[in-house]
Symmetry: C2
Subunit: 146 residues, 2 copies
Amino acid sequence: MQEHESRFKTFLKEKGLKLTQSRYSVLEAAFRLHEHFDAETLYSHIKQSNVSLATVYRTLPLLLEAGLIQLAVRSEGRDRFEHILGHPRHVHWICEKCKSVVETDLATLLPALQREAGDIKFDIASITLNISGLCWKCRNYENESQ
Amino acid sequence: MQEHESRFKTFLKEKGLKLTQSRYSVLEAAFRLHEHFDAETLYSHIKQSNVSLATVYRTLPLLLEAGLIQLAVRSEGRDRFEHILGHPRHVHWICEKCKSVVETDLATLLPALQREAGDIKFDIASITLNISGLCWKCRNYENESQ
DNA sequence: ATCCTTATTGAGAATCATTTGCACCAAACT
DNA sequence: AGTTTGGTGCAAATGATTCTCAATAAGGAT
């Protein structure tokens, strides 16, 4: 059994919740997708197995609480998630113009954050470091067009 | 004239937009409030001056684009903003249990981020570093109750 | 294996933050 | 002052997310 599966199973048992087919489908899809996904996208990948969109919405918070996924960005009115097992945590560089998202590693910043977490006695579940601005393409384009 | 006012004025002129009374009210309220605010809250602070909620919603993206405010967190289905002039950028420590938000300084992390921005030629407009987890109170409470 | 209790589900309706259309104003430039 | 062009309020529309509820399926106990 893969790590995400056993983790989810344990998490559900601890909470007295059941591991249903639908929840399993959502979990698998979340880990099959290797880009950011929103509820609708995830749904489109599993609707052939009769999972309803409502259930997708109901399962996402569970995966979140289990520390299996995290909110990557919110854009165009939708929440976009990403799974976070085996993935080094990363920084999202979000271009305000073309909406592109580039990722870089967060590793170099982690020690400082963990030190700070210790100071204020905070238990870190997930880290979201999003930086908005202009990517190099859009930046060049802006200069040209003046 | 305060910096946020002159900045907004310049921004609008560059875009061929007008500085109206309504926009001015929204701007002022955003800088008068010293906690996170959502559209509705900001609106409640200026509705005596006949600004409509729709205009608040229309002005917020302008302030965002002008680099005067940034999205602080999204919680309970609403976007919450904060102004970012004269304010050192900061980290938000969001407790998943009690929803409290504690802020700490981002200064120590900035150099590393700016170096990285240079590498990928990214023009930083705003930085959002949100960390979810459990604050010390809720963490203690969880341990006790087991 | 079958029963039984309780959580879960699909479907569609309901919510509610945010956006939009439109007819009437008001900046800002001449 | 006049004109152009954007801006505004209001109300209706949109669309992501949540909820209701009757029907179903886990999973522990027998």
